[in-house]
Point group: D3
Chain length 246, copies 6
């Protein structure tokens, strides 16, 4: 996209999609950029479905990943800095005339910061509408239908499946190895942290899993990944259509 | 509590509970401080149940409420400032020797900021465990069993019920009035915002409800409030016991 | 106060009073929240005297108390964070239409930060008038007439007396114990720090007094406390009346 | 002073004096840099008296002057930025080994910020002692003995006298003109602001005085200025000697 | 790269290269991401030459581009936020054990911020070595040998040539159009801004060129681009080898 | 300058010059304030040449000098704080009506921060023009004609010469001593750092030179200093004239 297309898109494409990810450990078999890759692919699929009413803005390739810092290669932003980055992306787009921004984040660690940005924008940019969405949890029902371990999550069945569908050449399938798969492998505080719901307790991943994985990625299949991705795309597209038409 | 009790509690009471609330419109019948009042009451009930293994720290009486600013009296912090306040409370308590902190927030607008604080603390205070919990959503199943409107939420049946149970003298029952109770009363973007799940779209409350209320608080009962509060207290206590014993 | 009263007060009550305190050691006999309790009580007395031309906003329950951190239970904000909190309270109230804000601080450690807020508001909110006042030093002449030690101050005769008048059930009178009462008990640098006037040298309280007390709180009486409080209230009320009528 | 003298001074001269001033209107007859000039002169006089046990660090030539911004040429820092500047001067000196820092401020608008710096340093640099002092108010008794107007202060008799003593070539004596000299010339809110004591209300100077002056600088004499300066120097020196010897 | 390769690289590959770019107008014919694309390609070429002694970290896809904001699609960070992003990338890498970081920036607007990061890191991370380099100006001699206009620069001959070499499918060659090519087309202040050297005056690009281009990109050739890229790569590699071996 | 002259200058003198320097080691023979002294002198010479169309604003006496912190007496600001200081000077001057600001920095360590300020001002103050200039590098050709060592720079021949011309009474000529003068005295990383051009690697001066000097200041002459200063002044004046007349 050049500045000419951007100038047209301000009028023709009311929605800008920003993919956000992370640069963090994804176990022995998946790349550090896994979350960014998934977010960018889904953003493209969503934009394609929206057929001209949405454009894709710059990515946020590093997110909030302090819980993975014990694993080599993880790069993290503080929540303050991620918020500033997103706010400044949005401020620039607002200046050009866009009023609807959707961040698609492949990394759950960005969720809270995105919400804080949304809240602060209500005051600073009252004429802007800012939405964000995660990926995998959008399709929780589809994931539930896959073959997943009792404990599953980061770099587990669902996330690996998405990568096998979207970017199989980046997955070292021969290295995929189970991480924590049963609550009994966890110490009591870690179990509390992973039980879902509230109270919420944030823990470092090196305490939750020796190899940084929750679940057994060997059970992931490209078909399962496609199902998750398609469900996520469909739901984002449905949301976006209603929003754009409103 | 004096400094003498605090000095003992550092050893005897490993958990500090911080109540957090808001100072924001709660419709025509409930006080601006509703969320802080509920959080402080629940904190006391939880601490009483924990019988000496938890103490209560200072409250956070103002939270993140930009979505309510169109209604008179609402006072809000930015997410940056709330994060700084909580971080500095925690930093002070950590200095005295506490390593487990639980924030009970009566205001959902604080949730995201509390998560960002939890994330940043992983790096700055690796030997600390920080948890937080909302109130009403802890007892979503109990709320579902109450007589609630199709659309319900802020200052609606469940929140009013809690106040009728915990601080009935502060509720102007004669002024309680229904707000938005059915999706059909909402414009399409507002409906998107309230549909729950993701994508998440944050909206100002003056667009969601003319009087700032979601649901019909006239249907609230003290008994319903007690059920919600007791469920919330029980779940927080169960969590805290496991955590403290771990 | 609900949002309805707030909406009326924007027009009827031109002044908003914000009580500010601290959460810090107050010797063996008084609660950590002593300063907030006194500020809130005085705010109520002042508002009552002003009979409808002033309303009370949210409290600031934690202030700037790094000098007390050696004593258990003390929680402190940095001056940066306290300034942000007050600025955002004021900004919210300004948005609703209020143009006169008075902070009553029960804690002298907040004074400087309140002045910096006042200075910065001259530029950011030129149509706002922001005033603040301490409590005990407002009634220095009354305190001088009480039975006070040669060295007296924090948690000493005057402050304890106020608590015996305003919240006697929170004072452990049996535990009240003298702290530093004569200059000879101080090392030379501490003496410099306490001599009053300038140059000003800020010191930690654990160097000034083994139990965190300056003076002998056993000599405090509720009558003395009432005299201090009444003088402070009268002076604030006189100020506020002139200000509101101007 | 070169780095060689600095290296010696770390051991021989335990005290560093930092002069702080302002760049703000001082009425029709005195330079914008008046406060910095007075602070630097007094710093030199104090250092000379201390004969080798103190050195002078870099000046802070611009201070907190938002109340003078309506008058041309005034340059101001926010309180946040002044605090950062002083904190970083102090941090650098601390790194070299100094543990006693005294800021002499010729501008009262800096006082509160200097106190906030002192408070925050208790936590960040617990082994450092930081003091600060104003000038004119150090010699309030001497000023009271001068021929001063009922209302006097900024750019008035005492300040002009100091300049006539310290830097007479920079005073346009022919332009000196009275500003506000009697309370009756002030509107009620301005009178509140200038009455001294508390509550404290900060006002813009263009509301307090048409020419930015409080008092009648035509009555200033070099002899009066010398008396003020000598008293201030003597008191700072006495303080510093006690401090250094402690 | 997975976390396993990262864990090995901490030991085997002492250098991490971070590509930094911009998301800004590049005239009618080149993509908004031009600078990031060039930086990433050069980073890969450099890493390939260094054969295992360097790895590539996450990109910075948006830089400091306020001068291009008048052109649609440009997204900019403030210098403060870019500095925070780079500092946090570096801080994470430092934590894993890397001590040599090289940022390759395809966007000159990032240069100053990168230098400020380098300066601040001297204090915060004294055991780290941080270097950065631009691209085109590394090969100024090669550029001088190309067919360039009298005025040339942003999106001009040299930059377009690099893109024709590195990513020809992203260049709309049919749309390439000359921008400002002679000093006579500029107003006097713009001429000052572009004269190079000092004093330096920063101007908005919509004042410098109607289409955002300096020079005539129609004269760009892939061969010229290859020469520029190869020179830049060779110089970075030579620098890196000396550095790594030191 | 009083506020009266400032009020006239807003109309008569469209340009404000701000001298910026440093407070850092300048070897055994030159004062810590060397850079500020040179900047202030040059500012005065430039203003004199511009004969009424420029005025001089407040100085910035401390700059960004972390690379000199190993040498006693050096005081440094972070780049963030220097940027805030300059931005607030500029903001104040802008408020009075000035639209052209020129910072003359005697210290190269400030260059990058001044550029970041210039960039951010494009967005925050679009009607302002901000320029900055170093000193010595403005006259690189003149310096090349002096008798300089192979390695020369900080506190070397050119800088010392300027001081011998501008402020000879502040130079301890008997103490002037050579620092690093040949590349062979440097370790390989230091050589990389000093080779000029890019990649740029910022190093601490205690690694570059045992006495903090680059070059041999004994070869400096007042005549050489005059030539450098006159060239710098002439070039700044030429720039300013074009700018003012534009």
């Amino acid at each position: 996209m050049t500045t000419l297309e951007a100038a047209e898109a301000v009028h023709a494409s009311p929605l800008v999609i920003i993919p956000a990810g992370a640069f963090e450990q994804h176990g022995p078999g998946m790349p550090l950029a896994t979350d960014t890759i998934r977010a960018e692919h889904v953003a493209e699929l969503v934009a394609a479905e929206l057929a001209g009413s949405a454009v894709i803005g710059p990515s946020v390739p590093v997110g909030v990943s302090p819980h993975h810092l014990a694993f080599a290669g993880t790069v993290t932003l503080t929540t303050t800095t991620l918020a500033a980055v997103v706010r400044e992306y949005v401020g620039s787009l607002h200046r050009h005339g866009w009023r609807k921004i959707l961040v698609i984040t492949g990394h759950g660690g960005n969720n809270a910061t995105l919400t804080t940005v949304a809240q602060d924008l209500l005051t600073t940019h009252p004429d802007l509408q800012f939405a964000w969405t995660p990926l995998t949890s959008l399709a929780a029902d589809v994931v539930a239908g896959l073959r997943v371990s009792e404990v599953h999550g980061h770099s587990g069945e669902a996330e690996t499946a998405q990568m096998l569908h979207l970017a199989p050449h980046l997955v070292h399938t021969e290295r995929l190895a189970p991480g924590t798969t049963r609550p009994g492998e966890l110490d009591p505080v870690s179990r509390l942290s992973l039980q879902g719901g509230h109270p919420a307790l944030t823990m470092r991943y090196d305490r939750l899993s020796p190899n940084g994985v929750l679940g057994d990625p060997r059970n992931a299949t490209p078909e399962g990944g496609r199902a998750v991705v398609e469900a996520a795309v469909a739901r984002i597209v449905a949301f976006a259509r209603t929003w754009i038409d409103a």
